[in-house]
Symmetry: C2
Subunit: 264 residues, 2 copies
């Protein structure tokens, strides 16, 4: 049992709250039984798991499940005091882990399946995690982050993602490369804009297409608008001129998902 | 010009970051030119506005607009240092205000229009603000907060609401009173549940109904489920068992809004 907060593997847990450190190491910090068990069952790349049996309700059951999938040296037992020292939760549940960030590339994407979501310079980690959660729900298996994006491994993004980081693959790419990819595979890219004349609900979506969403503040750039095969807008009856980014993405994804379901 | 942070009207700005203080006074703190101008143009109940001309880009234009709608004693000029002392933003834009919270009651709700949204024990202020923003977009004019709800005048809720606090009326009510109201006016209440057999996309929604959403953690209580005239669920293809609350509410509201638009 580790009781010293100066232990390097314990110190690492705190350091990974910081994006700079996550970028340097390629690791991230995950906390909570639900998330950790999802990581294990989805065979995520776990570096090590930190356990505090006193804080886990069903400790024996958890430890049995974890030790079936992890090597003994990947399981660190700590005291409640040590756990509380790095925990980011009000009522810590005694389970945390360090994992390797998993990034996919455009070349791995097969041009099949429902569709892809590409986010341009998404700034809010809560929005990013929420979008991952909706992607999982509608069967989108790839999320493409373009340009300067917030970190999907930010604690807020992980919390909002509710474990869907392990079922949706995350790709980092430049916009030009995405355009090349979609041309090579003859795949349509549909952009959303508040200036689009086409109502999103009046459009028939191809069974595989890229949904391109602009950033929270700026929307799509004029270059991005130019490269879209179609532009759609979500009608709004009120005073506000836009929806929350995660809401807009989800409303569009459910329209696409419903059309696919209606066909069956 | 006020330069002392000890001035009671300046001290108030900081205190209102705290829910306890907001509850006691019935006031709240709002910051940013966009929000303040929306408050003025929507005739919100403004107590006073704090202006720092040096921090406002188009100061003269703003001041002209504000002084047309406010009494001189409602406009306080402060130094940049004083403004930065209470501002909650990284790059403060020199405009903040104290406003009166506005609460409506069930008895004011006329049983007409598109529909109402009722949230049971919503916990996350970001979700609450985002839901207000979607309500505004689809023409829902009343949002009913049931039981223990987070504060719609929390800074995070205000930020997420993007000024729609002034176009959607907020009602605080007990669940029993809402049930009485819907019975008296013969209005249907539609609840959402992940255990509902009915697909939300296969249902025809009445032109006026109450959409009842459960809390982030618990969903609807069994008493609430019992009082619903219909239960609908949003199908999900992935591993996660629920959507973000603001996303689920918005997906449902856009289905209702689209059905209404399709009829025309």
């Amino acid at each position: 049992m580790i009781t010293s907060p100066a232990n390097p593997r314990i110190k690492m847990l705190r350091k990974l709250q910081n994006r700079k450190y996550r970028d340097e190491t390629g690791w991230y910090y995950l906390e909570g039984p639900r998330h950790i068990l999802e990581a294990v069952s989805q065979k995520a790349a776990i570096e090590y798991v930190v356990v505090c049996p006193e804080l886990i309700g069903d400790a024996k059951d958890f430890l049995t499940r974890l030790s079936a999938d992890l090597r003994p040296d990947q399981l660190l037992e700590v005291s409640p005091e040590t756990f509380r020292g790095f925990s980011t939760k009000d009522g810590p549940k005694g389970l945390a882990a360090v994992l390797h960030q998993e990034w996919a590339s455009l070349s791995e994407m097969k041009p099949e399946g429902l569709s892809w979501v590409a986010l341009s310079s998404v700034a809010n980690p809560g929005n990013l995690g929420t979008i991952l959660r909706t992607c999982d729900a509608v069967g989108v298996h790839w999320l493409i982050l373009l340009d300067r994006s917030t970190d999907p491994y930010d604690p807020t993004a992980l919390r909002a993602g509710m474990g869907t980081h392990f079922s949706v693959k995350i790709v980092k790419a430049g916009f030009g490369d995405l355009v090349d990819w979609k041309r090579a595979h003859k795949i349509k890219m549909i952009g959303t804009s508040d200036r689009a004349e086409q109502d999103y609900h009046q459009v028939h979506y191809p069974s595989n297409c890229i949904l391109l969403m602009g950033s929270e503040r700026e929307g799509l750039t004029s270059e991005q608008v130019e490269q879209c095969d179609q532009l759609v807008g979500i009608p709004m009856a009120g005073r506000a001129d836009s929806l929350n980014l995660a809401v807009a993405t989800s409303v569009l994804l459910y329209e696409m998902y419903n059309q696919k379901r209606d066909k069956k």
